[in-house]
Each structure stands twice: as C-alpha cells, then as structure tokens.
Amino acid sequence: MRIIVCVKQVPDTQKVQVDPVTGVLIRNGIDTKMNPYDLYALETALRIKEKTDAEIHVISMGPDAAKAVLVESMAMGADEAWLLSDRRFAGADVLATSFTLAQGIKAIGDVDLILCGKQTTDGDTAQVGPAIGEVLNMPHVSWVRKLIDADDKGLVVQQEMMDSVADVRLNYPCLLTVEKGIFEPGLPSYLKMKEARKKEIHVLNLDKCECKDTKRYGLSGSPTQVEKIFEPVYDLQSVRLEGSTEDNAKALFDKLVELKVAGGK
C-alpha cells in the first residue's frame, strides 16, 4: 500500500508580511517551516502505517530550498521524498498547483491514499487538496477530523462540516484533507534527520510529467490572478479604568454603550 502526503514549505511567522510597494508576500529573510496542517497529514499517514504495511512518500512543489521540509518528513518517518521543481511551475495558482501535484503523484504511481493538510498557512485557500482529487478523478473528503478505521481496502473517517458531522467510508484510491488536531504530530527524530540528509530526494521536472503541455503549468496555467494583497488591520485599544468599583462599572457601561456593544436606555 502506498500513501502520498503533500507538504509545503511556508514562512515561519505568525504574522505574514506584505511588501507595501509590490503587494507580494515577503519571503526573504524569514525562517521557513513545514505548513503546520501538513504535519497532521503526515502523522495520519504514520498512524495508518502502524496498522497496515503502507509505505509513505512525501511530495512537495517548490524551489530547491523546499527540500528542507522533505528531509524533515523523512526524519518524522516518511520513506521516500519527491520534489516537483521547475522554473516553468512558478507563479502557479490553485488550479495549476493542483494539476502539477497531480502530475507528480502520477509519476510516483500506484497510489492508494493521498493525504493533505486542510490548508496552508500562507495561501489559506484550502482548495489544492480537493482539486488534486478532481484532477485525478479520485473520491476525496475534506475537513477530516478523525480517523475511525483503516485497513488495506479503505478507510472510515469523520468529516466536520459547518453544521454537521459525517462518518464516511471510502475505498482506495482516495484523497483526504485533514484538520488540525486529528492526531498530535510526532517530532522529527534528530537521528533520522542525519540519515535523511544523506538520502536521495527524487526531483521531478516538467519533462518527467505525463502531460507535457506547458500551458497547463505555472503562470500560464493559472486563470486566476492576485490583484492585490494587503495586511488586515488590527485595531486593539486598551482603556484602563481607575477608580471605585461603582465608578468603574459605570464608566465601563458607558463605554460599551458608546461602542454599541451594550444597549442604552
């Protein structure tokens, strides 16, 4: 059985910064890490591996530097790592990204289960996972918060939607995107990390993909364009009330009325 986990390298920062002139995410000079949601996907794969004889492959699309998250994945227990890297992949939107990843997954071949994090912390679309399923014409379930059962035929998972929860049985091959907290991700082993650094990472470029049509990849394969990126405005104001309890209570009430949080007369 073969599980493929999609991972992405993202900026290691709580606050994404945007260049005010170009409107592009500032990535230079910021440390990177594995997308936190992908850790849950990888951990899910490792737990399924405990119950089956699965081999785990991780795949990432990105520049050479993205090998760091692949090495980390192997230090956490993944068996093989694949990097989709080609200048012609650059500038991809959700459609082109999912198409490219699907090509990579086909190149690996014989996949039974694809696992993705629910979303990334930089792009935040939560669309790439399901879109890979569509490209591969594979059943897929998003927002999986619990793995109820897994065997070598298929899985039973719990999907959390806005207003309902569904238990779903899927047969392989299929794709899941998993929620934060499905399992607590294990930590990378420092010992395995040393071995992983010596291990080969399989690099795939466009020439190794089944579809050679360059119009399907990168900027030219991306019908959506980002017109503008801007930082959300945070407006946190503090007011300190000093006085007797009664005065403070009245002042607080007046302030809440003024802010229209509480009703007036």
């Binding site: 290691d12 709580q14 440390d31 890490k33 936190p36 850790l39 230090a75 399992f183 607590e184 991700p185 294990g186 930590l187 990378p188 082993s189 420092y190 010992l191 990390m193 007797s244 309890t245």
Partner: protein
C-alpha cells in the same frame, strides 16, 4: 511570647480608615479562598480581616497599628503557594497585595524592570518580552505574583542556565513589622555594602517584611530556543545522562525529566496527546542562542552525548507549535496529578544532580513498600524534584499513616544524600519540622534570632519557617 490580640470592633473601626471601604473585608465578606493556598491538605484558617493594599504607605499604617496592638498580619499574593505560607494560622489580618499590580518601569539603560509585588509572573514575562528582553526566571506557576516569587525565591525550569529569582532581584522596598518603609539595594549590578538585608528578605516567605516594590534584572533575549525530547528505557538511565550533558561546553537552558505515567495524567487532564508518547521516560533539554548554526552545533553535541548514554532516540522541537505541544504538557503536570487523585502531598527536595536517580529509585521503593501511588517529575538539571504521594482510594486513617511515613522517609533520605528540604517552594508551616531536622539546632537558633531582630513581637506571618 505574648498571645495575639483578637480583633475587636474598635480595631476594625481604626483599620477601616487606612483604605477605601471597597478594599476592606470582614466576616462573611471574606472569600473562603483566603483560608488556604494550593495545598489544602495542610489545613485551613480564616483571617479576621482582609485588607487589599495599594501602596507601601497603606501597608505601613496597617503594620504600625498591628504592631502597637499585637495583631498578627499575613501577607498574601495570588495564593498559589504549596506549603501554607500565606495561610493566616493565627487569624488576624491578611494583607493582600494583588491590587498592587502595576509595572512601574522597564529601564533599558540599567536593564531592569521595576514592578509592584502583585504583578503576575506571566505579566512580567510578557511585558519584558514585548520590550525585546528576557526575564530569565521561569517558575511553572505563571499566575503567581512576583512578590510571591521573590518571597519564596522561586526557581523554575530555566534555573540550569540562568539561576533563580534571587539572582535577578536588584532592589526591593519593604515594610517592616513595625511599619518602617525600607529601600534595600536599588538598580545597581553589584553590592558589597554591609550585610545584605535584601537577600535576607528574598526567600523569607513574608516573615521579615512585606515587599511593596521590586526591581529586577532583565537581559537580552536569545533569538531562538530549541528543545530536544530524549526518550530512555528507564528513568534511571535518563537521570544518569544529566551530569554528562551538564559537562558539555554549552550550558543547556533547561533539563527536565518526566515519566510516561505523569505524561498520561497530563494527556488525560489536557485532553491532548503528547508527541512521541510511548516511551517509559524522557529528558527535555533546551538550548537557546542567536543563530541556527550555533544552536545546531549545541544540539549535535547534546544528541551524541545522549545516544552514548543510552537514549533510544532524540526528537527535535524547533517550531512554536512543537514547543507548545511539549511545554504545555510539562506545565500541566502539577494540576494533572492533582486532578488524578483525591488528595496528595508533595515534596520539593533539592539534591546534588548526581543523586537524583538514587532518590527517585528510593521513591519507587516507598511506593512498593507502602502500596501507595507516587509520581515525580522535576528539574533534572538543578537536582530539584517534585514528588507527589497520591491518596487515591485509601481510607483516611491509612492515608494519614502512609503519607507521614513516606514523607518522613523522603526527608531522611534527602539529608542522607546531602540534599535540602526545599528547592523552590519554601517551608511555610508545612515543612518546618523537616527544616529543623535537616539544618539542626544551631542554624535554627540563628534563624530564630534573625526573625526576632526584624519582628520582635512575631506578628508578621507567624508560624512560618521558624516559631
């Protein structure tokens, strides 16, 4: 010593004039929490009056009156102590400092922070962090007041590298039992000017004076911290590794030990799994530094040492999410053990770091001998253990017998190994007997004499540390 005066209507009428009405409490206005700290096993006692003070002058007025009328006064911060230090054993007045909660100054030129005693540890850490610096002491109970930290000389997890609260206190303002306001120390970085009254006050558990302002050292904050979670086959193997890690050229920030059983309690309590949870025992070793390359060289050396000492693996915690997964669990141990049983008693002995393994083995023998559940975790890097004896299903009579036998045994063993009664929680009234047995008559007499010099009537926090 003269018996303390019971507070009467006339005392109340005078004491009321010292603070506004909404900071003065009597009888059923007094919240029941004022009768105990976190360890109710050591007994409860209600105060007669509770006064929330805002400044040294108010405290001084109360102390003067109490001194003139021989009324006992017990200082109290957040009440998170673990040996009954803030319990008003003789009734009287509780002076609560928790409204003295202003951060007065962060001074980057002298690298100090000055606060009122009721500011919480977490607020100090946050404020200093926001100013781009580090307040290095890191006691586990973040909702304790800084006043409480100073008065117990609280330690915490970063003591291995940075030391304890005492090492950071530069100056304090205290109100003496007779109501004088003293300024001890200041912002100066060193001080050889006579006996250090400042350091007598630090760790005095509110028996010599009431602290009303504190100036503490802050330092540049290292840019990065990474932890290693190192599993072992046995706790003994883990603890024997600690001296080897301590010998390495780079000093670890933290070296903690824990066992699977305590982790299971923490998982249950937090409702959250611990990463890589299926090993019998662990060390957590942290390193801080300013560059990834520097930290990686430290990690590499520590990793090799651990493996040579029998570590089963070495896991890396290098992102905020991973650090939280480990440290939130570690931070919940005390509450988790408390939650897992009906009643418990604790022991906070400190040992030479090469004796910790022997002591833990002894706690296991006790557990078997008395058929009682005993849990331990602690600061492997500074030899400070926290050992908990859990009542679980034992009946009261058996429990009372067992817990005393076990505790007595712990302190005898600690003394035999040249350890000390308390690493960081203090003596309060709960550990007095053990302190006497440990340090002996000559030292106890000196301590009693010191107490009498500061507090001739014995009205300030009576019944704590010394009688």
């Amino acid at each position: 010593m003269k018996p303390f005066k019971k507070i009467d209507a006339q005392d109340i009428a005078v004491l009321r004039t010292f603070v506004p009405e909404d900071r003065f409490f009597v009888e059923d206005q007094i919240h029941p929490d004022y009768s105990h700290d976190e360890m109710m096993i050591y007994g409860k006692q209600e105060p007669e009056v509770v006064i929330q003070i805002r400044n040294a002058e108010e405290a001084s007025k109360v102390m003067k009156y109490a001194s003139e009328h021989n009324i006992p006064v017990t200082p109290r911060g957040a009440g998170t102590g673990l040996c009954g230090g803030c319990v008003p054993l003789h009734g009287g007045i509780v002076l609560n400092t928790s409204l003295m909660n202003r951060i007065l100054e962060i001074d980057p030129d002298t690298m100090t922070i000055t606060v009122e005693p009721g500011v919480l540890l977490m607020e100090v850490q946050e404020a200093v962090k926001n100013a781009g610096f580090l307040y290095a002491p890191d006691p586990g109970e973040k909702s304790a007041t800084v006043g409480g930290n100073v008065m117990t000389n609280a330690g915490g997890m970063r003591a291995v590298r940075y030391g304890v609260t005492r090492d950071y206190v530069r100056g304090i303002q205290v109100v003496t039992p007779t109501g004088e306001i003293l300024e001890l120390g200041g912002k100066v970085a060193k001080n050889s000017s006579g006996y250090s009254l400042l350091h007598l006050m630090v760790g005095s558990e509110g028996t010599l004076g009431l602290v009303t302002r504190i100036t503490m050292k802050i330092m540049p904050s290292p840019k990065k911290m990474t932890s290693l979670l190192i599993p072992f086959e046995t706790l003994s193997a883990a603890l024997k590794t600690v001296p080897e890690i301590m010998k390495l050229p780079e000093v670890a920030t933290t070296i903690e030990f824990m066992e699977k059983e305590v982790l299971d309690d923490a998982q249950e309590y937090l409702g959250k799994e611990f990463p890589n949870r299926n090993y019998p025992a662990y060390l957590i070793v942290s390193y801080s530094g300013n560059s990834q390359a520097h930290i990686e060289s430290m990690l590499d050396t520590a990793c090799n040492t651990a493996v040579k000492c029998g570590a089963l693996d070495v896991f890396l915690s290098d992102t905020q999410e991973r650090q939280e997964a480990i440290w939130n669990a570690r931070g919940a141990f005390l509450e988790a053990i408390k939650n897992s049983t009906t009643e418990m008693d604790e022991c906070d002995v400190v040992l030479n770091i090469d004796k910790v393994a022997e002591f833990v083995d002894y706690t296991r023998e006790c557990s078997d001998k008395y058929n009682v559940r005993i849990r331990s975790f602690g600061h492997a890097g500074d030899g400070n253990l926290h050992v908990y004896v859990c009542k679980d299903g034992l009946d009261d009579e058996t429990w009372n017998h067992v817990v005393h036998e076990v505790m007595d045994g712990f302190y005898v063993k600690a003394k035999e190994l040249n350890g000390q009664v308390s690493g960081e929680h203090g003596i309060g009234h709960a550990k007095k007997k053990y302190l006497e047995e440990s340090v002996g008559e000559a030292q106890m007499n000196l301590m009693r004499s010191i107490k009498r010099v500061f507090d001739p009537q014995g009205i300030l926090n009576p019944g704590k540390i010394v009688d």
